[in-house]
Symmetry: C2
Subunit: 460 residues, 2 copies
Amino acid sequence: MRTPLLLMATIFCQLAATAQVDSLHAYRIQQFHHLALGENYGYQQLVALANDVGPRLAGSEGGAKGVTWSIATMKRLGLDTVFTQEVQVPHWERGAQERGVIWHGKERIAIPTTALGGSVGTPEKGLRGKVVEITDFKQLDLLGEKQLKGKIVFFNIPMNPNFINTGFAYGQAVRQRWAGAIEASKYGAKAVIIRSVTLRQDDNPHTGSMSYAGVKDSIPAAAISTNAANQLSKLLKDNSNIEFELWMACQHHGMVTSHTVIGELRGSVHPEQYLVVGGHLDSWDLGDGSQDDGAGIMHALEVAHLYTKLGIRPKRTLRVVFFQNEEFGLQGGRRYAELADSLNENHYFAIESDMGSGIPRGFSFDTNSERVAKIGKTVGPYFEPYSIYEFKSGGSGADLSPLNKDKILLAGLRPESQRYFDYHHSVLDHISSVHPREFALGAAALASMVYLIDQLDLAD
Amino acid sequence: MRTPLLLMATIFCQLAATAQVDSLHAYRIQQFHHLALGENYGYQQLVALANDVGPRLAGSEGGAKGVTWSIATMKRLGLDTVFTQEVQVPHWERGAQERGVIWHGKERIAIPTTALGGSVGTPEKGLRGKVVEITDFKQLDLLGEKQLKGKIVFFNIPMNPNFINTGFAYGQAVRQRWAGAIEASKYGAKAVIIRSVTLRQDDNPHTGSMSYAGVKDSIPAAAISTNAANQLSKLLKDNSNIEFELWMACQHHGMVTSHTVIGELRGSVHPEQYLVVGGHLDSWDLGDGSQDDGAGIMHALEVAHLYTKLGIRPKRTLRVVFFQNEEFGLQGGRRYAELADSLNENHYFAIESDMGSGIPRGFSFDTNSERVAKIGKTVGPYFEPYSIYEFKSGGSGADLSPLNKDKILLAGLRPESQRYFDYHHSVLDHISSVHPREFALGAAALASMVYLIDQLDLAD
């Protein structure tokens, strides 16, 4: 591409000509975008979080460091109030680097392996067994105890590449991670290994939480990379006697105290009403959690920064919430909702960013589609200059889900999803995966939505 | 992000329920997307082009290799006809790696430097001079010959970060590259160095074509990285005696023969009418040209592949065109238009992909906005399930620009622009910058537009 004349023009100047928009509001939204793109405070803070704190697994030392860093950062930003909510979170430790090995006769193939979050470890000398591949949960019932007892069950259910929104493909494939151990242990399997839940073909295993709900004897559960899953599957086709050996040193250490971190910018008209903008402070431990959910909390912090830097006061009190332990128990989100309820707080609107730093495509609202269509019709023209077109009915975010959606309008930022699961819960979830401008545009979009909902009283 | 229930659903199933779409056409478009995402033939070919051919500067050995590779690849795909159009292109050689040095008193700071395409070299022993920084072309007139003669003019005009479409910011900033030497030489400058035209802050210089139109004595022109430009600017503020020294071995070797490569899939109803889908085969030489414009030609090739693999015949003859030397003279595009005219060919529609491999956001049409609105209204509902919403009046692509837009509907694919200029004309324009799914979605969007224009006779 070479010639400037051939490029499409962006359309700031057309804003004023658009009948449906209030020119002051349109100007504010343009200010949000210019300041976010020009200064990118949120991205600078995300770089600092990644470098100075790094991974923030709830209950870990990094998790605690994340809390201290967040309090200090919010105070430095000059918010009116900064406080915390105490929560009890599990303290699970990965321990020494996991190892996985395929035994192909006497050949030994080292496999990129990671414990799933919450898994028990293996015996110190490891655990070895024949492998049974499962590509559909129904196969477990068909094979039964006779063919599964004492085996290592290998769940190999790829994400479906056909979905345009990769989140939907993730939703279909993630059951193997969440429920694989539960289902396989019913038939006496001695361990499970799963295909990493990602669309990318590479050598990075992806972790994530798993459950033992209703299980008597917990069995170790690990993920292997997508390349390794393909390799193992291929080997099994030729030789059903393939064995897998697994070493995992992970351990549970009970519950420990941690905190959700909250900062407020007092509202000018209805200070008793709250606008929540948040994400989760905790992350997995393989990368530095810049995508999940460093980007989300720094999006939220940038919203407060844009307001303060531009000298704009929200009508309602803006609450920036860094929820604790979304990944591993949702204690922060649950506790926040309990307190909101018991303190009789008046929440007007709550929005979460927890789908990474990609270019913003739209928003979803946890309410009926008629209401969403009405909101979309009002806000759509303000977002068009920024190529944001999607206002859909759907979930908000895990941390907001314990709130009462009948009383509070809940929403989520929806960034482009193509790259998100490439990074998700793996070593690739790292600051290097965050594009500064895409991040800034997400933050500006979030600020714009909060601003419009507040100014135009759209959650009434 | 954890919980699948919270994700927005994609809406394939809603397709049939949408009144404005023909269900066969909607199904074809879904097939295009599924096949592109599932098999990603185009991306596989792009990997092969990057690895087996690499950079393809017109007139170079790589350029010739690109032609041979393209003919073979089109033949292997089983197109009905594969042929070439001969063009004369300049043979410019970069020669040995350029070197740039800031002399800060006796301190010597090595600077990432690249010759601009078409520049003359420096004397073998290099060229050294005081530096005058220019941040606006008007300053040249103000400074005049008195302050510019014998100096090295340093154009330091950053891309404006405020534009959402980065192409527009590029259009504003690229004049320093294109016309910097022309304007500075009027006042007797001995060389120009420019700030690389990118929004990214890094150490990679970006090349690109420059002109000596109307210039009597050609002066060397180079780009330095954005980090280096910031550094040099800062040093100049403290010390106006800063000097820059430059070594460039680039040389012109006259014109050589090269080729545009064309493959056809014969139309079933109007074989005498042409649907052109293309990009340019040539690239700059610093990276491997996977973005500019390897992605574009492989998008185009994927269109033909999707048709053949799905057994769909276009009504009109589909022409996949790999234009030669867009970057450096546009000879391929000009020759194509000349021949179309002299052979009295009936071109119905032509579309180009030359803005990289990003997620497709829409299309621009080189026609009046009423006509575009009409097309958009018809095709919009088919693209909505793929989150494509933009159908705008604007340019098509440089290679198509010599065609007669009063007779032929010209269009361009518009991918997301945030990352494009990070790579553009630099070492980062490399296969590793191409996201396989984003690429596939671009190819499927291109195929869908060609299909709809053809099936619904939208260019009548």
